[in-house]
């Protein structure tokens, strides 16, 4: 893959539908690989971005498919950065408790794992509000 292609393809814009999650993962995996990084780690980065977009679709856009999600990747010398922006509902990530899986199972419900998993898989997870825009920054340190 040529350098131009990488630059041209450093941003993906999708509608807020779970239909598009596979495209998101492929975009991230391709960007990751194009920089020559290890395939297996790329799968974890793609999974984190999948979780981030799933949450935006479900919680920020309330499962309505007409919202816009922008995903931008940036490769710095010591880190791989993904910026994900949306214009849906705001939320305060500090209000979200750690998942209690046995308790949820007792209540016969799933869920509550996405943010926890992102934090496990990435080195940095930062949520920000910029006016009407929500920005989520995921960072993987390279070594």
């Amino acid at each position: 893959m040529s350098k131009e292609k990488n630059i041209a393809n450093n941003e993906l814009v999708i509608y807020s539908s779970t239909d598009n999650l596979s495209e998101v993962r492929e975009f991230i995996a391709a960007a990751w690989i194009s920089y020559g990084y290890d395939n297996k780690e790329g799968m974890k980065v793609a999974l984190s971005v999948d979780e981030a977009c799933t949450n935006i679709i479900k919680h920020a856009y309330h499962n309505k498919a007409n919202g816009i999600i922008k995903i931008k990747v940036e490769n710095k010398k010591d880190k791989f950065i993904i910026k994900i922006t949306d214009k849906g509902s705001h939320f305060d990530p500090n209000q979200v408790p750690e998942p209690n899986i046995p308790e949820r199972q007792k209540n016969k419900r799933g869920g509550g794992l996405g943010m926890f998993l992102m934090k496990k898989l990435m080195d940095e997870v930062k949520y920000m509000n910029k006016g009407r825009t929500n920005e989520l920054i995921l960072v993987k340190h390279l070594n």
Binding site: T18, D19, S22, T54, P99, I101, Q105, G111, L113, L117
Partner: protein, 115 residues
């Protein structure tokens, strides 16, 4: 669209669910359907075979969380077999190995049910 396929087969008293491809928030409802069918048919002993599953996100794990208690209340369980390392790693990160049984192949899982 993510490529995912779920089907089930009976092995004596036990039902084996084969999951293939990519299990994410888009395809998880399909797996939910399969569990709903099992409960409708009062089949509570389930082995999920992950041999051909390439990918799982937390939405997929959530399906097992939502159904395992019903299975256990009826003297059954959901046991997992044949996971690829990458997929097992996700279950492991979230602490599932203390909550579920994982086996290398269906036979071992079935053997456990029949013990």
């Amino acid at each position: 669209m993510a490529d995912f396929n779920v089907s089930s087969r009976e092995q004596g008293q036990i039902c084996i669910i084969d999951v293939k491809g990519y299990l994410d928030a888009h395809t998880a409802p399909d797996l939910e359907n399969e569990f709903n069918k099992l409960i409708d048919n009062q089949q509570y002993k389930v082995v999920v075979n992950f041999d051909e599953l390439n990918y799982i996100s937390s939405a997929g794990l959530g399906v097992f969380m939502a159904y395992v208690e019903t299975m256990r209340e009826h003297k059954g369980d959901i046991k997992f077999s044949s996971l690829k390392d990458d997929v097992y790693n996700i279950f492991d990160l979230l602490g599932f190995p203390v909550l579920y049984e994982f086996y290398d192949n269906d036979e071992e899982a079935i053997f456990k049910f029949n013990q």
